[in-house]
């Protein structure tokens, strides 16, 4: 079901935890949908010098969080904002169709954390897309 890359990031997630004096914190998703990602950023001179996450969710959710943190660490804020769900999926060697929403969530978590950072630092923020709750589109039923 999952690629080796996904399983590696799931079993050995990078950057788990929190940053006590974070410059930006973002949380997306909700427990109803079964996915919550929380991302902590430490930003110095517009560069993301540290990033941690906590995720409640499936294997793909944990793996996408983990790889997203790796992908934005050391990047400028602008570069981090360019992270797309597509690049997250590619970096993981693919995700099952039903799990693609997780990569979107990862992208959104990064955006949310950066927005928080900007808000705290007086920047203006554009409207961001966020998962508005369970639309039911991303998966279907459970059976055996």
């Amino acid at each position: 079901m999952y690629s080796e890359k996904v399983m590696d990031h799931f079993m050995n997630p990078r950057n788990v935890g929190e940053i006590e004096d974070a410059d930006g914190v973002g949380q997306v998703g909700n427990a109803k949908c079964g996915d919550i990602m929380k991302m902590y950023l430490k930003i110095e001179n517009n560069v993301i010098v540290d990033v941690k996450f906590r995720t409640f969710g499936c294997g793909a959710a944990i793996a996408t969080s983990s790889i997203a943190t790796e992908m934005i660490k050391g990047k400028t804020v602008e570069e981090a904002l360019k992270l797309t769900n597509k690049s997250v999926v590619e970096a993981l060697d693919g995700l099952p169709p039903a799990k693609l929403h997780c990569s979107i969530l990862a992208e959104e978590a990064v955006v949310a954390a950066i927005e928080d950072y900007k808000r705290r630092h007086g920047h203006e923020i554009e409207d961001a897309q966020q998962c508005p709750g369970c639309c039911g589109k991303c998966g279907s039923s459970r059976d055996e």
Binding site: G34, S141, D143
Partner: protein, 395 residues
């Protein structure tokens, strides 16, 4: 043990027991005749099917002519529900079921709703039990069918079928029960229980996949579902899965012969497992009723933890279990059963179903618990919900 597989998902499916497989084997390559053929090879297949039918009927305490073979438990459910609803639609279009049925039942009712039937979904209490009074109250003059599962596939709760069927009988309403999970675990005598229609599926009791049966009490009005040839006394068309039917009967016979011992074995494992988890892991809830449950079923909700990641980590340890129901792949909707017994979405997402089988051992139970302790701990450390909970002082 460590790197071996520990299979604890017998509610999802079972292996075919070797002795069952041996009984099936000749019917693939050698005794392959079509049971409808009149020459010797055909008659042998016919005999095999009729023996299987008698064996199953004997277990259920019914007459062989009341057993019909199908291609799955799901097909048996579809046939029972749609067949009875349509056959009696002149009498009325109101149907009753429960809110915790398997999708094989629920989706039939949803289909029938679109076709103009009206369906009452009975609620269950926090242990998944239906209140017989609720059923009595729900019955109307135009009610034609009641379908209540014998035992639930997720939380294992066993319904008071005898009481429920008695109410149906008194009101003259057809009573169907999806006994897919119960068969092989419970000594069901359909006639004594006043059951009109009963579905089963072989792969839940160490028989093969792709074969099921429907018990239709003599006299019950039910339309055909699969139309075609004259097989199954003109009621269910399609060349019979001879090997499958032989396997189903052999498996059920074994199950009935060993019912008590099997129950004792499973109950011992579940009790050990439940007690041990409760002792060692905090914030856990046992779903379902502690006594009125399938002996091998354990359904737990671990707060702050999501089910799929729990399953995957268990899988990495060789432990093969389920989260509520087998196919969570791609599912974002938590189980309708767990929601129906009152769990919040969040907690429902963190559920784990362990269903023990004949080969499981106490050592395996201990191994699973050890790993659960570790994995739940790890996932909670990773969980923003747990972080919140702790920050808020752990209430």
């Amino acid at each position: 043990m460590n790197k071996n597989i520990i299979y604890v998902d017998h509610a999802a499916t079972t292996y075919v027991k070797p002795e069952v497989f041996e009984e099936m084997r000749p019917y693939f390559t050698d005794l392959f005749g079509n049971p409808s053929s009149i020459y010797s090879l055909g008659r042998e297949s016919k005999k095999a099917i009729e023996n299987a039918r008698s064996q199953i009927a004997y277990c259920l305490g019914v007459h062989p002519t009341e057993i019909y073979f199908t291609g799955s438990g799901t097909e048996a459910d579809n046939w029972a529900i749609k067949g009875a609803a349509y056959a009696n639609r002149k009498k009325g279009k109101h149907l009753i079921t429960s809110s915790i049925e398997h999708h094989a039942v629920l989706h039939c009712f949803q289909f029938l709703e679109k076709e103009g039937f009206e369906v009452t979904y009975l609620p269950v209490n926090e242990e998944g039990l239906i209140n017989p009074d609720d059923l009595a109250k729900a019955i109307r003059p135009d009610t034609t069918l009641i379908s209540i599962m014998f035992a639930n596939n997720e939380i294992g709760t066993i319904q008071p079928i005898k009481e429920l069927a008695a109410i149906a009988k008194e009101k003259g309403v057809i009573f169907h029960t999806d006994a897919v999970q119960a068969m092989g675990n419970i000594d069901i005598k359909a006639k004594d229980l006043n059951i009109d229609l009963l579905s089963m599926s072989a792969h839940k009791f160490y028989g093969p996949k792709g074969v099921g049966a429907l018990y239709i009490r003599k006299g019950v009005r039910i339309d055909n579902f699969v139309h075609g040839g004259a097989q199954e006394r003109n009621k269910r068309a399609g060349t019979e899965n001879v090997a499958g039917v032989v396997g189903m009967a052999a498996a059920l016979k074994l199950a009935y012969e060993n019912l008590e011992e099997y129950n004792r074995h499973l109950r011992k494992l579940s009790d050990r497992f439940i007690n041990s988890v409760m002792e060692r892991i905090p914030y856990v809830r046992l779903n379902g009723n502690r006594e009125k449950r399938l002996p091998g079923n354990v359904n737990l909700s671990f707060r702050f933890v999501e089910g799929e990641s729990l399953l995957l980590m268990l899988d990495m340890k060789g432990i093969q279990a389920s989260s509520g129901s087998a196919c969570t792949s791609g599912s974002l909707d938590p189980s309708h059963v767990l929601l129906a017994i009152g769990l919040s979405h969040e907690i429902a997402h963190g559920s784990l179903r362990i269903s023990f089988g004949e080969r499981n051992t106490e050592e395996e139970v201990d191994y699973i618990v050890d790993n659960l302790v570790e994995i739940v701990g790890k996932l909670r450390q990773m969980s923003p919900l747990y972080e919140d909970f702790i920050k808020k002082g752990g209430q």
